[in-house]
């Protein structure tokens, strides 16, 4: 069997249309996911079992089951019920785009909440005490010290989460969305050239994730510039 990459050139504009859909899905779920994640993370830190129990179960469910199952539950599972179909939510649940956004947002918020929790808990107790000694109010403390610090700590893990989300967004193709993978599969239905088109789609994903990594390196550098020019030396082996 011979490979024929001319189909990639012919269908490249359609792959780009799919890419745009992928980018919309990822951006929207990441932003919404972060918004949902913050209260979950704060509740999860609570020592009161009544407050931390629900977020614990939420995080456990969404991190312990495949995203593919979650998408199918939202898209096909929910629409099975009359009550859902007649509720005010239906105009939204009717659209595969919003079903994907709901599943992705819930999924990524479970992971992001754990990242936030880790970051908040990673700030040394001494810094909080130092703020109090300086006579800062709680607002000032969060605004000036804790949140910027947590932001710096969160960055690498959060960058990773965005790339994981980008890759996970390929599952949108299973509920009729024409994202990059969905578009690739639709093109293949016409051309019967799976290897060529899938490789091309893979290359586009790769370019996007390399771009995300690059952006996060830049932000990290900026964010941690107070560490000065002092570079952390990793000793050479051997």
């Amino acid at each position: 069997m011979e490979l024929d990459f001319s189909v990639v050139i012919e269908y490249f504009p359609r792959l780009l249309t799919g890419t745009w859909m992928t980018i919309k899905l990822v951006l929207l779920s990441i932003v919404l996911g972060a918004i949902v994640a913050l209260p979950i993370a704060l509740a999860r830190i609570s020592k009161n079992w009544f407050i931390s129990g629900v977020p614990f179960a939420f995080i456990f469910f969404f991190r312990g089951t495949p995203l593919l199952v979650q998408i199918f539950l939202v898209y096909y599972g929910a629409s099975q019920f009359e009550a859902v179909r007649e509720s005010f939510l239906w105009p939204m649940l009717r659209e595969p785009f919003w079903c994907a956004i709901i599943a992705f947002t819930l999924n990524t918020s479970a992971y992001t909440a754990e990242i936030f929790r880790g970051a908040i808990q990673a700030i040394p107790e001494g810094e909080v005490e130092a703020c109090k000694v300086m006579g800062m109010t709680k607002m000032q403390m969060y605004h000036r010290i804790l949140l910027p610090r947590a932001f710096g700590i969160v960055l690498p893990a959060y960058g990773n989460e965005i790339i994981l989300m980008l890759k996970a967004s390929a599952l949108a193709s299973t509920i009729t969305l024409l994202d990059l993978t969905g578009m690739a599969r639709t093109i293949i239905a016409r051309t019967y050239t799976p290897i060529e088109i899938f490789l091309a789609a893979g290359a586009i994903y790769l370019v996007i994730s390399i771009f995300v990594i690059y952006i996060f390196r830049l932000i990290e550098k900026r964010q941690n510039r107070y560490l000065g020019t002092l570079s952390i030396k990793v000793p050479d082996k051997g």
């Binding site: 495949p66 199918f72 539950l73 096909y76 099975q80 890759k167 899938f198 790769l206």
Partner: protein, 229 residues
Amino acid sequence: MLDLHGFGDQLLQGAGITIQLALCSLVVGLILGLLGASAKLSHIKPLQWIANFYTTIIRGVPELLTVLIIYFGATTVLMAIAGVFGYEEYIEIGPFAAGVTALGLTFGAYATEVFRGALQAIPKGQHEAAIALGMHPRRKFFRIILPQVWRVALPGIGNLFLVLLKDTALVSVVGLEDIMRKANVAVSNTKEPFLFYLVAAFMYLALTIVSMVVVHYLEKRASRGLTRG
């Protein structure tokens, strides 16, 4: 008892396939991870390039695409390679083999980073002490280095296994009869998507819990040399 319309047995069979797939991919992934880490830490530049190329590609492409590309592409590639050696018979790569390859490659790419960190965490003195005791490099690696790498890497590897377990669901797309596909078949026969996808979700959750218990036990075992006073 839940009424699963007679699909309970099918789902359990699917769980068996899911577990087999996860364990086989784990073995392949661990080997690739150790090789990748060794390559990244070696002094030979081309080895470093290959390892970097491997981890960058795999970590930047969706697992679903990796599964699809290997399922449709690997036969062509393998047969081309076999053809070079004069072997012309057809080589079959079924959904299971494609799944093990794709998930093993993915696991290996992430495990490379975990093992690299663990290898670097072993103090130089340990190497020196082993050499001073006259150990052969291979003996040093298996007796001194690997057990410690194992201990340091375990939490990371455990997390990766949980990810792997969930990624197995993707292989259903190329026809593997795992939990997910059995659930799909049950849905198309009974028109009860909510019930069967929820049951599938809880089966994965149960597997996750079992894996967490095993990883916890292994972690305790691996660090018993440290905690004993």
